[in-house]
Amino acid sequence: MSAAEAPVLPSYEEPFRAERSPFLWLLEREVLRFLNIWRYSVAGPVLSTALFVIVFGSALGRHVDTVDGVGYGKFIVPGLFAQAIVNVGFFNGTTSLFEARRDRYIHDLFASPLRWWEINAAMVGGGIARGVVVGAGVLAVALPLTHSGSVADPLVLVLGTLGVLLAAAQVGVIAGSLAKSLDHVYAMESLVVLPLGLLGGLFYSVRELPPTWDVLSRFDPVFWLVQVERIGFLGRGDVGAGWALLVVWTLAAGLSVWSAAIFAAGRLKP
């Protein structure tokens, strides 16, 4: 290591001017992070969802009558799509933030000109981007398998999917800020996210459940995320489109406020 040549030092009198937004750099890093591990972060979730479609939709679906007048394979695709983007959105935010805290790499971000809300937004943006990539992959595989192609309500689908992506990414970032160990990260997924997904009407209509379970299902946030996708794709669900969108976006907004409060308060210690 030879002695450094004298650097041209920046002036302390000039206001900060970025040649390229630090937020865009961090967002790019968040996308690069999951693309660097694409086998695990993208291919795995797409493959497992495709297997669900094949096993439940194609094989078991032959023994199930239509649900709400829709073939079983076609019926479960919106729910599986919702589950896939919820899982990857959650896991992306959780692992990205938890690992940044654990490795203390987050200090590099705190010390930089990045503002707290830019760090928050970029981490959430990474989860949304991964959800979009995996969701597109799921649909590319699932729709041909179930001979589905049409979208019943594109506006509900787009608005609903944006809400689902945002809610999932925010809850992932919140979990990533709370986790104390890698064990916490995996426990949150297997003990909270997965059961809520399976009980959220992924494979059935809650109207077919006993009344008590029907009511209880409505307290499961994933139920609403599944509903909004089902209404968007199929034009029918267990609740009205307005209610589904309202609940999904209220959830996304509430989680966004919570997540922002954590970053604003600086409670992101290793």
Partner: protein, 260 residues
Amino acid sequence: MSPTPGAPAALPGGGSPPALLVRGLSKTYRDGFTAVSGLDLEIADGAFFGLLGPNGAGKTTLIGSVCNIVRPTAGTLTVFGHDHRSREARRLLGLAEQEINVDRFLSIRQILIYHAGYHGVGRRAAVRRADELLQLFRLDDKADVRAYELSGGMQRRLVLARALMHRPRLLILDEPTAGVDVELRSEIWRLVKGLNAGGTTVLLTTHYLEEAETLCDEIALLRGGRIVDRGSAASLRDRYAARDISEVYNRVITAEEVAS
């Protein structure tokens, strides 16, 4: 003429503002532990400043507060006249922490490039600077590997290279030579001395007292979250009638710790 937006307040006499000015800094953590209490510190532009003290004296809390990693309970901190929370101040600060805190998902070249990006550097300039520093720190043949694949000495060099990516005016080095061999230590000091000669202000914490004595223009002794004395190595030696800074340290820090 009105001052430039974001510019620090002009100083009487037109001199440059201090690289770091800390007034009344206190930090009490949520568990009730007070790490720093009413700390005042001023470091002149261009200085090579050493901060000495035992573990738990408040060095890391002070550095964390300056670099926005720790939120102070009270006090004001300015970097070249800018509030330390401003983007102007952050742009001027470079931090190499004691721990190897690098991004595990990126190659070491990408670590440098993205770090520069977080400081607002454009892509072309960031790539050019990264390649220059990889060469300077003899890491160019490892540019595409991940940091955890590097040896301890290489990781230390990477952390230092990252701190220099955005050409900071105030470079903060927290135990930069902890756990490195003698050869690398002397290389690091040669490099940092070169940077200081070029105008970069250096704030250094180290447990190697003889190095602080040799390198630093001024030394502050920190104990229990307060600066108990400061001055040039020569003035501290004279004041305590000591042969070297180790003896000063023993009298000011170690003896007081034992007494308390």
